[in-house]
Symmetry: D4
Subunit: 256 residues, 8 copies
Amino acid sequence: MISQQLEQLLKAYKEGRMNLEMTITGIKNKLKEEDLGFAKIDHQRTLRNGFPEVIFGQGKSTKQVVSIVASLVSVGSTVLVTRTSEDVYKVLSSKYPNCEFNELAKTIVLPAGEIKPTGGKVAVLSAGTADLPVAEEASVTAEVMGNQVEKIYDVGVAGIHRLFNRLDQICKADVVIAVAGMEGALASVTAGLIDKPVIAVPTSIGYGANFGGLAALLAMLNSCATGIGVVNIDNGFGAAALATKIINLKKNNKNQ
Amino acid sequence: MISQQLEQLLKAYKEGRMNLEMTITGIKNKLKEEDLGFAKIDHQRTLRNGFPEVIFGQGKSTKQVVSIVASLVSVGSTVLVTRTSEDVYKVLSSKYPNCEFNELAKTIVLPAGEIKPTGGKVAVLSAGTADLPVAEEASVTAEVMGNQVEKIYDVGVAGIHRLFNRLDQICKADVVIAVAGMEGALASVTAGLIDKPVIAVPTSIGYGANFGGLAALLAMLNSCATGIGVVNIDNGFGAAALATKIINLKKNNKNQ
Amino acid sequence: MISQQLEQLLKAYKEGRMNLEMTITGIKNKLKEEDLGFAKIDHQRTLRNGFPEVIFGQGKSTKQVVSIVASLVSVGSTVLVTRTSEDVYKVLSSKYPNCEFNELAKTIVLPAGEIKPTGGKVAVLSAGTADLPVAEEASVTAEVMGNQVEKIYDVGVAGIHRLFNRLDQICKADVVIAVAGMEGALASVTAGLIDKPVIAVPTSIGYGANFGGLAALLAMLNSCATGIGVVNIDNGFGAAALATKIINLKKNNKNQ
Amino acid sequence: MISQQLEQLLKAYKEGRMNLEMTITGIKNKLKEEDLGFAKIDHQRTLRNGFPEVIFGQGKSTKQVVSIVASLVSVGSTVLVTRTSEDVYKVLSSKYPNCEFNELAKTIVLPAGEIKPTGGKVAVLSAGTADLPVAEEASVTAEVMGNQVEKIYDVGVAGIHRLFNRLDQICKADVVIAVAGMEGALASVTAGLIDKPVIAVPTSIGYGANFGGLAALLAMLNSCATGIGVVNIDNGFGAAALATKIINLKKNNKNQ
Amino acid sequence: MISQQLEQLLKAYKEGRMNLEMTITGIKNKLKEEDLGFAKIDHQRTLRNGFPEVIFGQGKSTKQVVSIVASLVSVGSTVLVTRTSEDVYKVLSSKYPNCEFNELAKTIVLPAGEIKPTGGKVAVLSAGTADLPVAEEASVTAEVMGNQVEKIYDVGVAGIHRLFNRLDQICKADVVIAVAGMEGALASVTAGLIDKPVIAVPTSIGYGANFGGLAALLAMLNSCATGIGVVNIDNGFGAAALATKIINLKKNNKNQ
Amino acid sequence: MISQQLEQLLKAYKEGRMNLEMTITGIKNKLKEEDLGFAKIDHQRTLRNGFPEVIFGQGKSTKQVVSIVASLVSVGSTVLVTRTSEDVYKVLSSKYPNCEFNELAKTIVLPAGEIKPTGGKVAVLSAGTADLPVAEEASVTAEVMGNQVEKIYDVGVAGIHRLFNRLDQICKADVVIAVAGMEGALASVTAGLIDKPVIAVPTSIGYGANFGGLAALLAMLNSCATGIGVVNIDNGFGAAALATKIINLKKNNKNQ
Amino acid sequence: MISQQLEQLLKAYKEGRMNLEMTITGIKNKLKEEDLGFAKIDHQRTLRNGFPEVIFGQGKSTKQVVSIVASLVSVGSTVLVTRTSEDVYKVLSSKYPNCEFNELAKTIVLPAGEIKPTGGKVAVLSAGTADLPVAEEASVTAEVMGNQVEKIYDVGVAGIHRLFNRLDQICKADVVIAVAGMEGALASVTAGLIDKPVIAVPTSIGYGANFGGLAALLAMLNSCATGIGVVNIDNGFGAAALATKIINLKKNNKNQ
Amino acid sequence: MISQQLEQLLKAYKEGRMNLEMTITGIKNKLKEEDLGFAKIDHQRTLRNGFPEVIFGQGKSTKQVVSIVASLVSVGSTVLVTRTSEDVYKVLSSKYPNCEFNELAKTIVLPAGEIKPTGGKVAVLSAGTADLPVAEEASVTAEVMGNQVEKIYDVGVAGIHRLFNRLDQICKADVVIAVAGMEGALASVTAGLIDKPVIAVPTSIGYGANFGGLAALLAMLNSCATGIGVVNIDNGFGAAALATKIINLKKNNKNQ
């Protein structure tokens, strides 16, 4: 069935109904589409997004994760597993000894060759100690996607001198990821101080009227500062992926 | 009926079943209790709280407000009307020419003699231009209750240098009232910079995911800084009343 | 007082405690700080952000808007007034005949000289006719900030062929702004099709369980596609400002 | 008491006060009503709805489930247990060796004779791997109710080509069940592409601002596409039951 | 440009890459696509959905509505305008004297030739007098889409005998639309009594803890009865459109 | 200190400042007030309310419960422990062999002499099997407070004939307690059928958009039937206590 | 059709399938059922509930109200219109000069003969001046239903001596209705002081985090005092109707 | 790096660009700043706030807590660990035998020398037994910060005589902390009785419509009494810290 579809794709290209780029994407999709029974893996995402393969580990059994990893490794992708556990790591590391577990971020990285640098720099800011798991998820993701990462942790606004002490470093980044729970004010204060895009990540850190991160989320959406894009609560991965897409704009420009 | 109750109060005091302070309060309550049909006015509040009489104007007809004012003025109280309108002012000013209308705060003050100073200083901070009505309600209230008021407006965290330029003034206050809508970060940043109690007033200013002030309210309740007490959304009056109770502690202490 | 502060700034620079950029910003702040009584205008924002001056018109009286405009025009800024009305326009246009009113977006632009192009292209997508006011606010803002704008309206996912018919145009943009109310699916579908950053703007369009834009907001935050940054409900201005900050990264890179 | 009620029912029919259909239902109700102490089992539901007996397992002890199953099996019903566990299955399978456990769906089916086919086809779509438990509950239910089921899993809108690759299959179904968590856009996109009724099942899959499925639920209710009926979050069973009622319309029509 | 696309569509069909039905739809789309500047009208929807053209009037100016109507009438469509006003009707009726305004439903119908009957019957139930506008919107829509409509109004569960008095009529319908505000129990009770699919429409009728229809919406989603699909609050139109899609299944079957 | 207070109470009575009833209550309060360190037990509640002593077990340690029970038993009260566990029962029963554990309701009753009958009858209705724990808590409470209890379980509105089959019994009760989760329609339907006060108890039974009982709670508050008073979610105890207060009105009347 | 139904009812009774009471109700229903086109008026409610006829005026046009009133007056009912306006009153009073308008409560009463006293007393408490409209709705309703009403207004807990001053009166009531907005504490405090059932009516009075009465509603549902039944926000009518049902228990008892 | 920064600070002071107070703070910050890898400990907070060092234990591993404690003890601070566990206590007490664990409050205190008294008195009120953990957290914190603490527990408003019995004690405090779950009325009633500032702490105690403390939180924010500042749900620590800042005002005043 797939060869038939390929034939059509090529014909379509030859007859001018499809442009070069889309034909290539199409061919890649066809070649790589596999059905593991429980999930269709998007091998082509790597090529389309310039990203490694990412497995969202939450809600998947160890067996499922191992099976998807095997499929991805077989085609030579760097693999990032997020929201996973030490148990999964133990199983994977027996098979892939070079895989790396980040205990805070709960991520596993299986590198495949050199990571192609984006040439961009991402500053990952976090407000408090308790925000570190999310900040680390953002940092690991940004690194594995080829960015230089500057970690600027524990700079919450209750002691604002800590943020100011690090302003020089922050200003040198292309994109800033501001990770904060509780009242989430870090995003507003940072965006008011610098000219770069700020990606705000509310975290579910806090208690009481925090309501699982709602307080920080609303604060970030209502920021009085401009230049802030908000991602989902605790979504360190998503923030880093967005940062990479932004930096790729700059990179592509260089090559023009 | 009232004389009978008084008799009991006095007997109770004589027989030692009631202490001096409570007997006095009781007598005042009895003497002043009047029934206007639609509201029992707490004349004794002035004495108990060291406050002027306050009429919450919202939802009351002009006629109702005028009638309550008349009752209060007759016993010599300074009167503060909040959440009122220019229409009410026009009616009142024809009768009480010295009453003052604050157009932003929508307050009317009818002074009765000198205001007894508390000896304390309240700094009222506001984040943006749109927060001014609430900030002014707090300022008017704090002044009419005998405090010295320092207005430090338009110091929102998106341009944090504006706040820092005023830090000297802020530090000299006994109590700081931080009025902010949108993400409400002003309270956290301020409380992290100073040692004084901060009363946070979320405002309903903003749009979209602000949800009528909920965003700022949650942010203030979840502040990572210590020393913040939060009042209801847009409750400038309540913030000033709390500030006055706090300052009265200090004042009473002086007299010890 | 200001001259004294300037002196300090220069000394600080001379002694190497402050870098060139921050010293310049500092000087500008000092020179331009003015107090109009109800708002401190950040003249320096233009320079810091590469943005025109923006006045958020909602909740301000015509008199207030005119007064702020006069102050800004006097220093030669291009001025953008958002969330304003035809009434304000009538007053302003009598004084500044070249100002432009966008009826849908409810914006007024007072141009001051040529707008400096960013060299970037922003595609503004909208799902339905009713989302147009927000989409237009984004478009006007993006244009006045120097971007080339491609308007791709009425491409909601209920008739997905409409979106596909415009994919070529969308792919040529540097940044995509996806404006959608109701179920807000436009952002997810678009981000799944292209490699560029997508700024999602939920709108309050809809009824019933839309809850003032909450439905679209939550959908956009929970997108299964990567590369989406969300701004506040109906915040077309904020989306365009973020897009410009992103594009400026690329532009700055060109000049390196 | 029951025989007395039956007598009345028959008299009522004879005298024309009750039509044929209602009398039959009434008799069935009376004959089968049993009181197990903790639940009255609606044996008559099978006949009224053309459905097997269904036990909602959540919150019931293994002992309770076994007791209800025994009662139902004794009258020859096919039994479907939803939201159950492997533990319950182990107990039941020792007694009823032909019962089937679906590990993903957490369902047990105890077949009783041939399932009477409805002659209809239900396509069950799911957005992501994590939505499978709910999708499988819908599939198992639809099958046990006599429908032909086409499973079209992992076709979320972030990679919309996956959905399009399966459009042919989807179009052949009478009713489509669209199961999706996160932003729930699958329902809108599908309903915009086909002419058949779409039953949307939001799932609680996701995190952060997903709020237990609220995001997907609101998105589906606010769909800009027509022809969507929404069921409760995670209610795969309810979606299949509704699909069967719809398909029975068609079937009944055939027999007219 | 369009002719070129058509050519491709035909070629695609000839070469077997596209089936008959999709090719026809494609051709229709191309032929009819028009751009009114503010909205792309989906002329092809009529053909795809067997529906008249529908204009959602809310948020559109009279001028916009009139312009869209003109475009639709020119291609011979029956037009339904929902959420409109008497003012729009006055303008339209001067131009199209045969158009019909439903004061309760706030709908306008401009008939174009005979409506093709679906052969199905829809019962529209409403709980109280105040739910009538939504019930009427459903009834008008269902009729203009070719269904026979049985209106069974004011049968709320507080006086359940009213519902039972009408059960005979209800049982004869193919699909039941249950419109209810307040506690929304009508849907559950009805679905428990009959075997047909029930489309539940929560209304925003009520006050206090009704929260704009949320109470009825949640009740309907949590129904203990099976066979209920819920649409958005106040969405009478959507309920009728879904009912029509369901009935078309039956109709198509007849023709097989 | 207590003897001094008593003296005052008696003096007050003698001098006519306190009526007989209040003096008695006062004396009881004084005599029985004990401080266990972690809770002041209201021994006088029994007398004031005609209720047994009730211990809310949730959040209290076994040790705390045993200690409070001992204190209450020592003064001869019947004791009801709600929201407790089998573990607490095991400890208590070793000391008080006649105490009774209700496994569904999670209540323990320690009877002390005959319960004084109220002479009233309470019908406790429940919608589904899963609502039984709450219904049983109401039943146990109502019984221990001296009411005759009629349990009418599993009469949810999805099979409304089950409710009608029991109407005779329901009509004989003085007060009806309607316990229901999911859509909570049982309260509305029942209140529409009978003339007696209905106390509605929403339960947290359900899933998805049930939101922990919110759906049933809102439905009950918005009932279109009159004569319903709502208590907190899962508050079977509170419903029975209210029912008893209502029945006591009737009883007191008998004695007049 | 109706005579046919009556025949059946009588036969059913004769044959013993229906008891006396239900047959009477049935006959009344049949005799009085009228269809005004937009609402079926429940004439029989009066007889069933011992209530006057009540028209919920909100959302009904003056014309609709007048039409329903005429229908009800024609059968000799006392009529209560709630949530109406002075405009409706003006129209009605021209036709029925003895009708009475309560400006605060926004109610109209059209008396028909003597109101039959229940023999019970209802105390209506309100916390503040702004709660009066709801308290008056409760008072008017309770009176028109035959109860003696004691109005105890402006006894909010911020000045708790006001409540205590009225305790004697409160204790003499059979049922207490506690009307309060803001923090709604009046219900808890009152229920803790007396032995009678308390019906709590949250009002939407307040601002900010009051969220339209949600604050008071939640407070009343979570009361730590027993014996409280809660009705919908602002539902003064519902509280009085429930009070009457409770009092009727007592009355019926007297007659036994 | 630090010595370099100090040099700058001193120079800045010498040249008059920094005042004495800020220079001292700056030097303290620099000297004490340490980086433990996962958190920057604010040693200077003690000095700035007059507080002991506080470690928020929730979400931190035992290892992390021990490491931070060691760092703090090394500089001679009194340390308070909140939201910790007996397990952490066991580890700490083996190293620091004089540390004290409060089982209810889940706090550990490691005293370092005498605590400097503030000279103020804090009354901590709690409504019920279940609120004790939060009340104890407030009490422990207030004590360790140098205040005299008066514990007035179990004085909820359902038995208001308990509160009145303790009024004398309450009146002697400078600041009152009112801890209450459920309907949270304790704060309003208390603030209405006394002249001192009341800090309201809602607790998550309760069930059902309590929604994790939301009910009490909203009640406290909407209090009809003046002089209340609200902190986050369950934030006993925050209340005590605010109380201390308030009391320090008074203390500082004494020294003037």
